[in-house]
């Protein structure tokens, strides 16, 4: 059975808690559903699942854990929400973070996800940077990162993107028989004057000849879409452009700044679990922010930079 060609997989990663990643992805999902796209939102967070909070899904009889532990078919785990066109596969709040997903089970999940019928399949990845998250991330058609304009969050995210890219690079080189080439070069980077990943790529290109070139060319498809959440002023907006720049110039990947979401005071102050299961009170401004972000992601565009007059 081949994959339903029309479904597009979007993965959203964001590092450790507080970035509002789940909020962002749930709003993206809601918006897509509102423009009549069929959306399935999958909570892949095995240990800290909280996606259900955003859609008031109760009575979660079966979760993604059942797929892993009891081989329950993925399609049967899909749950309707109060929002038309939007369905969810919840994660599992009861699991411990030490549950390890065996590699073959991961592959199985991948192939089942690809077979789900929807216009968009959104993957909410957990916080942190373990191998599972990186692999889920690389699976997606569109790789999206969401963070807040704070130094630790941005640094964390930068390391995540670096790791993801490095993994992809090694994977590609592995296909062409240069499996540990990049790894070894990176380990000897001081001798070889390699500082950034970009330097590493240059090195690989020079030393491995045509094969390296081919692998590197495939990396052109590696594109990150950046979303900045809880933004309060114009200098924080610009952090998105800065993050984009260091991804491009220090790692050597394509990155687009899809947009930002302004800090919605009203929403965060009134957040409570009971509130969440009913209509979520999102401001009109936030809805506009989300619409712009999603439109940019779909069209592979980004926002334009503005310099305010006092700079």
């Amino acid at each position: 059975m081949g994959r339903n060609k029309t479904s597009e997989i979007w993965a959203v990663a964001g590092g450790k808690g507080g970035t509002g990643k789940t909020f962002v992805i749930s709003q993206i999902a809601s918006y897509l559903a509102s423009i009549n796209k069929k959306v399935i939102l999958i909570d892949t967070d095995f240990g800290g699942a909280n996606l259900h909070s955003f859609f008031g899904i109760e009575n979660r009889k079966k979760t993604i854990k059942d797929f892993y532990k009891h081989d329950v078919p993925l399609e049967s785990l899909v749950v309707k929400t109060k929002i038309d066109n939007l369905e969810v596969i919840p994660g599992d709040i009861n699991s411990t973070i030490f549950d390890v997903i065996k590699y073959n089970k991961k592959l199985k999940l991948f192939s089942h996800i690809k077979k789900l019928e929807a216009d968009y399949i959104l993957l909410d990845l957990g916080g942190g940077f373990n191998k599972n998250i990186i692999d889920f991330f690389l699976l997606a058609d569109k790789m999206i990162v969401a963070t807040v304009p704070e130094i630790t969050a941005i640094e964390n995210l930068f390391q995540f993107i670096k790791s993801t890219f490095f993994r992809k690079l090694n994977f590609l080189l592995g296909i062409y028989g240069l499996k540990n080439f990049a790894k070894d070069a990176w380990e000897q980077r001081t001798e070889k004057s390699i500082v950034t990943i970009l330097d590493l790529i240059e090195y690989v290109k020079e030393e491995s000849g045509d094969i390296g070139e081919i692998a590197i060319k495939e990396l052109q498809n590696f594109k990150i879409n950046i979303i900045l959440n809880k933004v309060r002023d114009s200098s924080e907006i610009k952090e998105g452009f800065s993050l984009k720049s260091i991804c491009i110039k220090l790692i050597g990947i394509n990155a687009l700044y899809s947009g930002y979401i302004e800090y919605d005071n009203h929403f965060w102050r009134n957040l409570s679990l009971t509130q969440l299961s009913n209509e979520i009170n999102i401001s009109l401004k936030t809805k506009k922010d989300i619409k712009r972000i999603v439109t940019n992601i779909i069209n592979e565009k980004q926002i334009a930079i503005e310099i305010s007059k006092n700079e």
Binding site: I151, V195, T196, S242, S245, L250, A304
Partner: protein, 179 residues
């Protein structure tokens, strides 16, 4: 400038080919600050670069801006030239008497912005605007207005002597009514 170089410059300034001049310039300013001054959130990551590497990046950014500034300039002139060539072929309305409103109408049909007229003719935007709006009270002495009208009509490929004659006729009529 060949296409490969052009592509490189756009990539260096981290903008897409359809970016406006303002966007290009803003991106340049932002990037230059990012890699030469210190910026709160990102600076630890940029500090991992050697001074030499930072200087190189700044140099590339400067060069990209210089080249793209020229590119946008050339493109602007080119697009105006193309519009002028279309003038002959487009359906420009005819007027018995050409006044400010007529000039504006013709200009709009040709799809030319007043800023472009200002740019190419060297006549200040405010004068062109007042000419179109027939704000006679705000116009400089007649001898200047005549020159401006000639330059304005040249950009629209109109008979400049007719435009001057018509415009002054209307102006005289208006002024005599006011008295």
């Amino acid at each position: 400038m060949n296409d490969t170089d052009l592509k490189k410059y756009f990539e260096t300034l981290e903008i897409t080919r359809d970016a406006s001049f303002t966007e290009m310039k803003n991106s340049y300013i932002h990037l230059r600050n990012l890699y030469s001054k210190s910026n709160l959130s990102i600076s630890p990551l940029i500090a991992s670069l050697s001074k030499k590497k930072q200087k190189l990046i700044v140099k590339e950014i400067d060069e990209a801006f210089r080249m793209l500034e020229q590119y946008y300039q050339d493109k602007k002139i080119e697009s105006i030239k193309t519009k002028k060539e279309k003038i002959q072929k487009s359906r420009v309305p005819t007027f018995e008497v050409i006044g400010g409103e007529a000039l504006k109408m013709i200009r709009k049909v040709l799809g030319i912005e007043l800023e472009e007229i200002a740019f190419l003719s060297g006549v200040q935007l405010k004068h062109l605007n007042n000419i179109e709006l027939e704000r006679y009270d705000l116009l400089p002495p007649d001898i200047y207005v005549k020159t401006f009208l000639r330059k304005f009509s040249a950009q629209l490929s109109l008979d400049s002597e007719k435009v001057v004659a018509d415009y002054f006729k209307r102006m005289k009529e208006f002024k005599s009514k006011a008295d």
